[in-house]
Amino acid sequence: MDSPGAQRAFWLITAYPRVVIAIGLLLIVIFAAFIPTLHKDTRADAFIPPDHPALLFREKVRKIFGLQDPMVIALVNDGPHGVFNPHSLMLVEWLTRRLEDVQNIDPDGITSLATENNIIGTSDGMLVEPFFEVPPRSQQEADAVSRAVMGFPLYLGSLVSRDGTGTLVVAELLDQVKAQSVYEDLQEIVRQAPLEKGERLYLAGEGAVAGYMGAYVDADAFRLQPIAGLVIALVCFVAFRTLRGTLLPNLVVVAAAASALGIMAAAGISFFVITNAMPVVLIGIAVADSIHILSQYYEDVALNPGDHPRDVTVRTMVQMWRPVTLTSLTTMAGFLGLYFASVMPPMQYFGLFSLIGVGVAWLYSLTVVPAVLSLLKLKPSNAYRRGSGVGSPDVDVFGNILAVMGKAVMRFPRLILVAASAIVVIGVIGASRIQLDEMLIRVFDPGEPLRVADKAINEVFDGSHYLDIMVETPEPEDLFKPENLQRIEALQNYLETLPHVKGTTSIVDYLKQMNKALNEDRIEEYHLPDTLDLVAQYFLLYSVSGNPTDFQEEVDYDYRLANVRARLDDGRYSIGKSVVEAAGHYIDTKFNAPGINANLSGRVNVDYHWIKRLGEGHIISVIISLLLVWIVAGISFRSVVAGTIVLLPVVITILMIYAVMGFTGIWLSIGTSMFAAISIGLGVDFSVHTTERLQTLMCESRLSIDEAIEKLYPSTGRALLFNFAALALGFGVLLISKVIVLHEFGVLVAVAMGTSFIVSMTVLPALLKVFKPRFIRQDNPGISKPAVQAKPAE
């Protein structure tokens, strides 16, 4: 036994097993006690660092103009009169009145045809009055409302669809934090609404997204976590077919998940949308350590059924602590890469607290697991029967399948290497074709009513994705200057030429409407007034019958700042990006001038700024993770070559996934960008275990490469198969997640695990067989001394 330190440590742990177990259980309880204090933060803005300049600027703009994330109810009527019929307008009125009574909705912050004012030209003046005081009783009256609205370009596409088939009821909240209960109240109102044939109601809006996200994520967690736990228990049962083999890994899982979430809660970090994946991911990962330990344990039990449980346990741990530590370290390295490289707080914390969970799983695997095992009477597993083979137990069908695999590898090593090279080439090509894109509504399942509503609203109206542009002038009332207003008008005209920009609004549109109204409503008078005094006096005239706060969303009280809002009908990042960049260029080259300048804001701009960095964050996370894993592996094997070879399977895996993404058009997005760092950290476990075992077999047991490979498959290979099964099934549970971000993430990691497993079991041994690197050769000078090296007690 040449690792006396480890030996002593595990004798110590097994000397006071009950104390170790008690401390372990106590810690779980303490961690778990913090979990109820977790604060949920499902806002879209949570994805952005809170001090990001784009976010701060948008907050400023929202404050100046009193902009909010509203709830939106869309009424669509496909009938011949669209929504301009007595019943639909009555419905708008009905919805408006009902919304006024909803707690936490600002009764004065509701915008609909029943609340908005028309600016009407009269023979000698201008009248600001509601489109209707009471809903029209006859079709003629409804037609009159239709004419009025259709003659008010400002409302077209925003309040009413351009073809008159739809209209919106928009409600602002008093307290955005209570969006969830408001959303539920609105769902009820929509359900109760008296609809006639042809009428449909859709409930959406940023406020609704925020309101529904919380419940959606909760429901998802309640669905995922029990299934994940069950799946893992099943994997363990199939692997070991004993009670302890099933329960012990689950104890480690509970410890990992409880500590990660508990420490997160204690640190005051919010539970974000993607945090939902963390418990599921930890369930899959945490189980790996104990699977390897139990595999070794049952092999030993099968060989030495008469030994004292403590002897078997210590022997097992002395043999397994090094690979288990190594794989835990590499997994943590992957999460660390994610933590360092990500620009998004939710992703950073996902990396950080998963890392903690993995660390705790490692600790429990090396302490509580041996403590429990040393207390239990030896009971062989049916999966590991003592066979005729000398020094190695006979194994079950899984071991046999892997043995066949091993034979194939030994026969066609070069063919395998050629295939691997092909994957590398295809992967590089695929990587170059990957598109960075994201769309926040995609968090929801395509069948979700909210997403259906969002789609319908973006089809019927000008769009619900806003790019706001704040125009700034130095002095109060500078915006009365015709040259400044014309500049804004030109900006709007330019914006409307951009793809997916369906409409723009600003104070300019109101002034044009007033100008038209004051010139007998002649359509050719729909243009800006041409003198400063005229502009000032139009506003005064408006105030004769308008409200003091009527234009607050378009212009500040000093007439110094104005907001120009462009509506996009597509929420994709790639669309927003082209609009943001084009608008930015126009503002820099054509708009800005002494005495006036503009800056971009709004959701579209904010999303542009952080999603832009998703790609770069992804690449950095891959580089950091590879580097960390390489360093950890290199140090452990005391060989740069070994570190590099261990890394190869994960590189091939990542390239393989890139190929899939590039050729099938899967976006590099929030969910998928996380896959690589995690897959590196996890996937490398397979190659670490394989390499470590081969090195042990060859250097210490003095076996030839072929003998070593043959021995590798039924034992370590089998353990890896179950390790893979646990991971793939664990991440695979995310497949049933309805949070699409997590769904994609789970799919990619699961596929990556499969790839890593197969590559580690084929390409890696083939590589070692063909190239015979020095670190596995028997004349390796390093083998006699490694302090970290363990070998089976023989």
């Binding site: 003046g125 009332e477 105030s543 607050q552």
Partner: protein, 274 residues
């Protein structure tokens, strides 16, 4: 749990605070002038037949940004009919703008309003605003402006509900409730509470609740002193509690003694300017 308890406790305490004075009120009520008495006193007060004055209107939004307009105003009674005119002196881009109003006592006759915008060189007749509409971007409604220091008898039923002090002056608190739903909708108020100085019979503080029963705005009449024997408010401040928008009216050069020529209240006059 804790929260619910606290809220319940708060309700109980609040309930006691509000009901105790009511019980006391009933005992004292006989000593107080009735709401209608007070209203009659207010409306009987001399406002002068005609007045000329400078009025500075300052409107302040929720972020503290301010718009200031200086005007010269005239007002004259023709029996029950009231004519008033407002000439804008500043800012420069509104100078020469004038607003002329004829208020008719008959309830079924809409008031006549004209606006002269110099940039358009045209006197425009403004369709009668609703009584609850806001007046020229201020927090006063047309009804508030029209009543000036008077109160409307027919729109409300009133009741004296207590005593208070405003700016150190003893006042009766009069609660005024609109006579019906329609009036509530028209005025935009579901309840008004006025603190009336029983020395000079002027309202020193009014609070208004909107149609949904939420506190809407507060009007404070300040700097009340006699000008030529007539009690005159020199500063009125309104705050809209919902929008946080505020308006401050400041009166100066108030003159009741000099008669105002009838020709001032004509379309020709507002076109020609001061």
């Amino acid at each position: 749990m804790n929260n619910t308890l606290e809220r319940l406790l708060a309700k109980v305490v609040a309930g006691l605070i509000f009901t105790l004075p009511l019980i006391v009120t009933d005992i004292q009520a006989s000593d107080w002038p009735t709401g209608d008495d007070i209203a009659q006193h207010i409306n009987a007060r001399d406002e002068g037949k005609a007045v000329s004055r400078k009025l500075t209107m300052a409107m302040i939004d929720r972020s503290g940004k301010k718009r200031v307009r200086q005007t010269r105003g005239f007002r004259k009674y023709y029996g029950q009919e009231k004519r008033s005119v407002l000439f804008y002196l500043s800012p420069k881009n509104l100078k020469g703008t004038a607003f002329l109003t004829y208020d008719f006592p008959a309830k079924d006759r809409d008031d006549d309003q004209w606006l002269y915008l110099p940039a358009m060189r045209k006197v425009r007749r403004i369709s009668a605003a609703d009584r609850g509409d806001y007046f020229l971007g201020t927090d006063f409604t047309y009804e508030d402006i029209k009543l000036e220091t008077k109160v409307s008898i027919e729109d409300y039923t009133r009741k004296t509900i207590g005593e208070d002090e405003v700016d150190g002056f003893h006042c009766y608190i009069v609660e005024a409730l609109p006579v019906d739903e329609k009036t509530t909708r028209e005025l935009g108020y579901s309840r008004v509470e006025q603190c009336v100085d029983d020395e000079i019979w002027m309202v020193r503080r009014s609070r208004f609740w909107d149609a949904r029963g939420k506190l809407l705005k507060t009007i404070l009449s300040e700097d009340i002193r006699q000008v030529q024997g007539i009690w005159t408010q020199h500063r009125i401040e309104v705050e809209n509690h919902k929008t946080k928008h505020r308006t401050i009216f400041t009166f100066s050069e108030v003159d009741y003694a000099t008669d105002v020529r009838d020709a001032v209240f004509t379309r020709k006059a507002i076109r020609r300017g001061l």
